[in-house]
Every structure is written in C-alpha cells, then in structure tokens.
C-alpha cells in the first residue's frame, strides 16, 4: 500500500475536512490556527471512528481469549502491529514493540539492553540536540553503572558537527543515540551516514524518530539502525501508544523490561520463562483501542503519501522562514529550509515566549513556548526559552500569515 514516491500532491483543503477539531473556534469568532503539531498532532475522523468502533463492536482483552470478541480484538491489534512494521520497512512484526510513547521506548532500550550490556566506564554518545527523553534515561543508568556520557556538539548553523562526531566515535562508545529530527531546530540529521559511522566504530545505534516518522518516509532497513523509537500521537494517532523498533536478533538477546502478564511463556512459583519478542517486552494489558487507532492513522498517512506530506511541509517551512526573516527583531534558530522539517523556534524583540504565546493565543494561533524538553540545547544557544511553531499536513500558507499578524500584534502590545 505504499504510495508511488512523488506521485501525489497534498490537497490541504480536503485534508482539513478530515480533522473535526480544525472546525472549532478558540473563542467566539476566532478560528483555531494549530501550529503545535510537534507537541502532538490532531486526529482525523477515521482514527477517532476506528477507536469508537472498536469499543462499540469488538472490545475485549487480547491474547488467550477463546471467545469471538477476544479473537477479533487480538487480530485487530496484531494487524496494527503489521501496519507499523510495513510503514517503517521493518523486516517483521516481531521487531515492533508497542510501548506508551517514544520516552518509554527509549527507557526500554536503556534499562533492558543497557543494564545487561554496559559496565562502569563504558561510553554512550548522544547529541546536544536531544529531547530530554533521550538523555535523562541515560543519565539514570549512568549514575547506576558509572557510564561516561558524551555529546556531539552543534554548529552555528544548527547542524550536528559531524567532524566532532567522527572524533567522539574514537572513544568507542557502546551505543550512539541521536534524534532523526530536532524538535526545536527542525534539523534533519543524516542518520544513514551517522549509523554507518557508528557501526564502523563498533557501536549500536538508537534513533529517536519522534519527529521524523510522522513527517517523511523512513525506511529503517535502509537506515540500518538497531533501534528506533516514535509515538503514535505525533502522527495523527492516539496518545498512550508508541513504538520501539528493534533488530530481531538484539531483541532476542535482551532481558524483559517490565514483568507481569503477557510477557511470559510459563511461570512457576519462583521462576518464569520469558515470551518471545515483541511480547517479551509488553507486560500487562496493552493499549488495544489505541493500537487500532494507530493503524488507522498509518492508513491515513499512507493514503496521503509520505512524500506528499514532506513536500507540503517543505513548502510551509520555506514560506515561514521567508516571512519570519522579514520581521524586525525576530531571531529564528536552525538551518535553511532544505535541511529541516516543519518546525521553527524563535525569539522576538525580548518578549518573553510565554507572553508571546499568550498574545498569539488571543488571535487563535496555538504555538508552544518554553524549552521544549531540550534545556541543554537552549543553554548552548544561550537563551532560556523560545517560541515554537510547527506544521503538519493540515496547515496552510494563510495560517503562517496569521502567525506573522500575531507577531505584529505582540509588538504593538509590548512595543
């Protein structure tokens, strides 16, 4: 069901019809301009319906059930897993572990693979543009085991410094973890090349795909990474479900993450035998309706075509960067449009990002203000916080104009 690359363009007005929330006003007479999809994406009707339909017609716990509903629910749940595997080009559904979100997926790698494979003095190489979810779990394990954490710096342009990366690989890190796309700078990192370099240095690779998988085609077999984490809620799916992709051989060798039901084959009073992947890592009743909603989200994106999604966002970010550059006193962070996705963080005339976001909200424009869970990155930029606008399939050029209008209004208030 993959679309022919480049064959489709995205009809944004039609797409907008599919998202019920986009029809609402934020207050009377003020339409919603939702520019916060990097935090979470809106949900199309098909996703909402798929979940409602599950609850109305099939709801049952999965696995082990012999009755009709349990069978249907199990099938639907596993079909969603297969959809995810196909969508990212995984070799098999066994490589797709359902978690709660990107954060939990990364924690799974850290505490299952990390705790059983790492020793005092081992090096883990991360980057300065990581979301806290790909640094704090490593800090926790570093404290426990005495690991050495190193970070690839960023250039003035907002790219990873690949020369520094090559040098840091000489420390022979056991694992290299990096985000595919920065949620602040928008930078799209050269993950295939970085993975090759890491593998040559003998390291495994964990990719944070939270901002990439929702926005452009990612073929994990082609990238070659060992692990990749992402969240359904940033790709039109529900909250409460995410994915850890892991190479099957690695997953086989890793100990379970959480213990309980479903992750076992057999249990006696004092011992258990773990189930096979991916079930080994899925303790307890999973988010069943969410998995089904996730499957519907992938169907939706596939129908649009990920190349069309990316092309649409390229158009939006190109226009946004152009318009923002015309606003006096505005400083945006991150590289040129070709090297980034649909995210732009900025500071404006010394107006505190909270005040700016509030004034934008007055005109219906929803943006995010703060450090976007990347405090070290803001520290390296020497700013406490930024305001961030982020785009998705349903955003329009006119909405970027509304953002620019809001900025002028803020200037009027604080002038």
């Amino acid at each position: 069901m993959r679309s022919l690359s480049g064959a489709k363009t995205l009809d944004v007005m039609r797409v907008r019809q599919d998202f019920p929330v986009l029809a609402r006003e934020t207050r009377k007479g003020v339409p919603l301009v939702y520019l916060d999809s990097a935090a979470t994406a809106q949900k199309p009707r098909t996703v909402i319906d798929a979940m409602t339909n599950f609850y109305e017609t099939q709801n049952a716990n999965i696995h082990r059930g012999i009755h009709r509903l349990a069978e249907e629910a199990t099938e639907a749940h596993e079909a969603a897993r297969k959809r995810v595997a196909d969508f990212i080009g995984a070799a098999s559904s066994r490589e797709i572990i359902f978690t709660r979100n990107t954060t939990e997926s990364i924690n799974l790698v850290v505490f299952s693979w990390g705790r059983s494979n790492l020793h005092s003095g081992d090096c883990i190489l991360l980057t300065e543009m990581e979301h806290h979810s790909n640094s704090v779990p490593w800090m926790l394990l570093a404290e426990e085991l005495g690991l050495r954490l190193e970070f690839v710096p960023i250039t003035g342009e907002g790219l990873l410094d690949l020369e520094a990366y090559a040098r840091l690989l000489e420390l022979e890190p056991r694992m290299v973890g990096f985000t595919h796309m920065s949620n602040v700078l928008g930078t799209i990192n050269p993950v295939k090349k970085m993975t090759e370099m890491a593998h040559e240095a003998g390291a495994l690779v964990l990719i944070d795909g939270a901002q990439s998988v929702p926005h452009f085609a990612v073929d994990i077999s082609d990238v070659g990474a060992d692990f990749m984490a992402f969240s359904a809620h940033k790709m039109c799916g529900p909250t409460g479900i995410g994915v850890l992709y892991g190479r099957e051989a690695l997953l086989e060798s890793m100990p379970p993450f959480l213990g309980g039901g479903d992750m076992i084959k057999r249990v006696s009073l004092r011992e258990f035998k773990a189930n096979d992947p991916p079930y080994k890592f899925e303790a307890g009743t999973p988010a069943i309706a969410e998995a089904i909603g996730f499957g519907a989200a992938i169907d939706y994106l596939d129908e649009l075509g990920m190349d069309a999604v990316h092309a649409h966002e390229q158009q939006l970010i190109g226009y946004a960067l152009e318009r923002l550059a015309e606003v006096p006193g505005l400083q945006q962070y991150g590289p040129d449009a070709e090297k980034r996705g649909g995210v732009v963080a900025f500071t404006f005339n010394g107006i505190h990002p909270h005040d700016l976001a509030q004034i934008l909200d007055d005109v219906g424009v929803a943006v995010r203000a703060g450090h976007h869970c990347a405090m070290p990155l803001h520290e390296s930029l020497s700013i406490p916080a930024t305001t961030r606008a982020s785009f998705y399939i349903y955003n329009t050029i006119e909405e970027i104009d509304a953002l620019i209008g809001g900025l002028h209004k803020a200037k009027g208030v604080f002038g």
Binding site: H352, D355, G370, V413, F414
Partner: protein, 127 residues
C-alpha cells in the same frame, strides 16, 4: 490579559532593584519558563515592611506581579504578609489566569513568603 496596568508595571517597574543591607532576601526560579525572581525587604522597629525591591527576569505576568506585590507590601506587618494568597494576587492583577500562567503570577508571592518565613511554600498552599 495584558491590561495596560500590567504592561505599565512590566515596562516601567517602580520597585526593581536590590536592597543592601536587607533583613530578608530570597530568590527562586521557575525552570520551566526561565523566570527568576529575587525579593529583598527591610523591616522597621515595629515589624512593618519599610522597603522592598525585586530583581530578576521573566514574562510580563511574573514581573508585573512582582512589582505590584513589592509595592503593595510596604507598611504591612509580616503577619499580614502571611495572609496574602492567590486571590490577593489575582485581584491585584485584575485578570483571570489558567493553571500555567498562574505559576508565573504566584512566583513573587512564593519568593516573598519563603524569604520572610524561611521556608518554601508549596504552590498549593498559596491557593
């Protein structure tokens, strides 16, 4: 939300600065948004606040609230300061605030109380 009085206190703070010496001083921040406030006070023989000043950086809500608060406490006893609460701050600002911005508005009161009583008041206790 950005009433003229708030913008005015933000742009032209009356109470900005530090007091040296002071009887009480305390600083705290809200790392989530990078707001940081320090408040210094002097107390006279009768236990009334005779001088107050604030310093730091933050959004218009946190800064104007700090300015108005340090202005308003002049002449109050420490006991009276103890009684100040969220409702007082909101009335002073004259606006309604959601949960997120409430933190900005209450930071100065939190700092003041921590300084005067030497203990951190939890957000909830101000409510």
């Amino acid at each position: 939300m950005y009433r003229e009085i708030i913008i005015d206190h933000y742009k032209n703070p009356r109470m900005k600065g530090t007091l040296d010496p002071h009887d009480y001083s305390y600083e705290d921040d809200n790392p989530l948004c990078g707001d940081r406030i320090r408040i210094d006070v002097r107390v006279d023989d009768e236990g009334r606040i005779s001088e107050a000043a604030f310093s730091g950086e933050g959004c218009a809500i946190s800064m104007s609230s700090a300015d108005m608060l340090t202005e308003a406490i002049i002449g109050k006893t420490l006991e009276e300061v103890k009684a100040l609460d969220k409702a007082y701050i909101l009335e002073m600002l004259g606006i309604e605030l959601g949960a997120v911005r409430l933190k900005c508005a209450l930071l100065s009161l939190k700092v003041l109380k921590a300084g005067v009583y030497g203990l951190e008041t939890l957000e909830e206790e101000l409510l």
